[in-house]
Structure formats: structure tokens, C-alpha cells
């Protein structure tokens, strides 16, 4: 039995892998937290335009400490900078971009992803509920992808036959980048596209809560040391 903890991808590596699929010229929304790392690994020679729900297009990296302007923040309330060709707009226009299908990609975190594309990422069902823009994003972008560890801290599958946690959206996720694999969701099934070469299909299936279908070849998931 392979020790997943030793070979699994770091969050940086998962983010790197997700960044490889962002086309030149894509309009992208990155969920708050871990998904924001994807911006750090933009592929050389490609330009992505980042959208943030609170009304900014084409923002850049965080400013140096002490240089923050706290009227210039992203949806995670972190200070940002602007690139040339940026634009401001109000919240209704911002979510018109989201809901109206103008974003090419949204990359989000997940508690659970089901084999039919259902996503649970907003509520554990405990404490103060808070949803933000998650439910809008999953029904807006042309492509909704998830970056996530393959299993929970306790070792339970995060890719499941059916979500048991409160849903964010129904049938919305089309690709999942995990710490062990890249998995597409097609016609209600997990379709394995890439996996770490050190792990067997059987081992991967054992930590996945729905059947992993194989269509054609499964490529090796190869990422740089980061």
C-alpha cells in the first residue's frame, strides 16, 4: 500500500496543474483561499484576466506590505493591485458577468464533489452559515473546476457517489484537480484522466467515493517540485 501522505501533491502543485489548463486570454475567477494560488502558476506566454466578485477585472498580485490601499481588495478582502486595462463595476454588473456566462473558468475549493457534478463547499451545517458568491459562481462560468486534497484530513473521500453535505450547486463541476489525480465529470461519472504514477488505479479507487471510469489512456500526473 502506497503511503499517500508522502507522494501526494502539495496545494501549490495542485494549483500549478490547474493553471496549465487556463487558456490564453481566459477570464478567470478563483475562489477565496487555496484556489487563489492558481494565479501564481500562470503559464508563461499566456495571459489570464482575473475577476473578483466585489467588482474588479484584471487585478494583479498583492501589493508589498505597507503599500495596501484597503479600498482596493478582492472578494477575500485581501489587498490587490491593478494591471493595465483594469475596470471597476458594481456588484450587479459583477454578477452579471458571473451568472451571464461571461467567465471562462471558475476554480473553487470543495468539501465534497459528487460523480454527477454536485458540489458542496459552503457549509458544514454547523455554526454561522455564510455563502458569499459560491452559489453564483458554480452556475456562471463556462467551466467550473475544483482544486482539493483527494481525501479529508480524516482520510474520508472528498469525491463521493452523492454529497452528504449541504449543496452549493447541482451538476456544476466538470473537472477536479486533486492531490492524487485529475478527474473529469461526464454524464454522471468520474472519468480518470491523470493520476500520480506511483499509485495504482485500485489504490486510487479505494480512496474515491464513486466509481472511477477509464476512457482511453490515463496519463501520468507529473508536476514540478514547488
Amino acid at each position: 500500500m502506497t503511503d499517500f501522505a508522502e507522494i501526494k501533491l502539495s496545494n501549490a502543485q495542485i494549483a500549478w496543474r490547474a493553471a496549465q489548463d487556463i487558456e490564453d486570454g481566459a477570464y478567470v475567477n478563483l475562489g477565496i483561499g487555496f484556489p487563489e494560488m492558481v494565479a501564481q502558476y500562470q503559464v508563461e506566454g499566456r495571459e489570464a484576466i482575473y475577476h473578483t466578485e466585489n467588482g474588479v477585472l484584471n487585478f494583479g498580485a498583492a501589493p508589498a506590505e505597507g503599500e495596501e490601499d484597503w479600498d482596493l481588495i478582492n472578494a477575500g478582502k485581501k489587498a490587490i493591485t491593478l494591471k493595465d486595462g483594469a475596470a471597476f463595476f458594481h456588484h450587479a454588473d459583477s454578477f452579471a458577468m458571473v451568472r451571464g456566462g461571461h467567465l471562462d473558468v471558475a476554480i473553487l475549493g470543495a468539501f465534497q464533489v459528487a460523480q454527477n457534478g454536485d458540489l458542496a463547499n459552503w457549509s458544514t451545517g454547523k455554526g454561522v452559515p455564510a455563502v458569499g458568491g459560491a452559489m453564483d459562481l458554480v452556475h456562471g462560468a463556462k467551466r467550473v473546476a475544483v482544486v482539493t486534497d483527494h481525501v479529508t484530513k480524516k482520510g474520508d473521500p472528498k469525491l463521493v457517489a452523492e454529497c452528504t453535505m449541504p449543496l452549493t450547486g447541482v451538476g456544476c463541476v466538470t473537472r477536479v484537480y486533486t492531490s492524487l489525480a485529475v478527474i473529469d465529470i461526464e454524464d454522471g461519472h468520474f472519468v480518470l484522466r491523470e493520476k500520480l504514477p506511483q499509485i495504482s488505479l485500485e489504490e486510487l479507487q479505494a480512496v474515491t467515493g464513486g466509481e472511477l471510469k477509464v476512457q482511453g489512456t490515463v496519463a501520468d500526473l507529473i508536476v514540478p517540485t514547488l
Binding site: 495571459e47 477585472l57 484584471n58 493595465d84 486595462g85 458577468m97 451568472r99 451571464g100
Partner: protein, 235 residues
Amino acid sequence: MDKSCASAAEAVACIPDGATVMIGGFGGSGGPIELIHALIDKGAKNLTVINNNAGNGDVGLAAMIREDMVSKLICSFPKSKDPRAFTERYLDGKIELELVPQGTLAERIRAGGAGIPAFYTPTSYGTDLAKGKPVGEFDGRSYVQERWLKADFALVKGELGDPMGNMTYRLAARNFNPLMCMAARHTIAQVTKLVPAGGIDPEQVITPGIFVNSIVEIANPQQEEVLNREGAVYP
């Protein structure tokens, strides 16, 4: 990112027969005359056009209609000083008309751009224009359910533009242009001046570039009202 196009002809080359095309402008103001004329040069048949009006005189949308490129028009006010091209074809049953109240037209286009498939409005309740539409009652008042409007293409006119598609508009030439940018699968903009990215203050952008697919500089754009007062005819 560079969405700029060398010419109006290049920008409209992608518009096929049968397309649904939103065209910005209100009366003689804000219409993308050079883009429309490039589309006439290229030729396209059986178009559904969405515009507030139905053209005036012998240029722009009126010329498109006169060239029999338009099989259906969705508009609020198909009358003008010289509405011959439309009127003749309408009375002959050669062009279909969907008449929509002006505010409902604007809101339906915005809804198309904003991913809102339907909404309720008090406008047209109890009138002939609400016939066949679902009615809803909210807080004791009756409203008409209206559907979004989307298009394959939008032709719009801006003032400043940058290669990312960000735009501003001149005076009341803004009108339907920013809404149509949102509601088309492929938006083609002409601007009076193309500036480098960063050349428009981000706080002053009216149409963010995400809503625009290609942008062409037409440095001295024609103005429909002025053309009509000169008695211009296109082609």
C-alpha cells in the same frame, strides 16, 4: 490580450446568414454606422435584428432593411422621419416585427447578459403587447413575465476603447450599446479612438472588456442623423 481588428470588414466577416444581431444606437445617435455598412458590403441574409428603431432614410439599419438582409426586427419604435425601407416591407408582409416596449426591450437585453431567463414587469400589463405572456401577482399588483433576449452578435459604437475591449461612450450615444455588449455571444465594437491598455481610467470604464470580443478604431465615425440630413445613401 489584443482584441483589436484592422478594419470594420475584418470585424464583421464572421457574421453568417441567419444570425441574430443586436445593433446599438437610439434614433440617429450611437449607431455603429461603419460596422453596419461593412456588413452590407459583406452581405448576409435572413438576419434577425434587435434595435430600438427600424432605421431612417437610406443609410445604416434602413439600408440593411432595404437590401433585404433582415427577415425579423425586434424593436420598440419602427417609425422615423423616413421609415420607407421598413414600412414597405412590413406592410407587404416581407419582414416580421416583434414590438417590445422600450424599457422592457432594455431590460430583456440586460437580462440576457446577466443570466436572468425571465423577470416580471408592470409594463404592458393589460395591453395588447402582453397577450399570451404569463402574468404574476406580487403584493397585490399584476405583472407581466418577460424573457431574456440574447444574440449571436452585437454591433456597437463606443468613444474610447482599448485592446482588452474596455470602452467609454460619448454623451447620449451610450443608450443601448453597453447592454447589447453584455447580451451577445460575440460583440464587435467600433470606437473613435483606440488607446493602449491602461489608457482608460478603470473607474471610468463603462463597458468592461469581458463583454467585448473585437474592437476596431474608426477615427471619424459617421453619424446617422447627420448622414440623413445630408440625404446620404448607402451603398
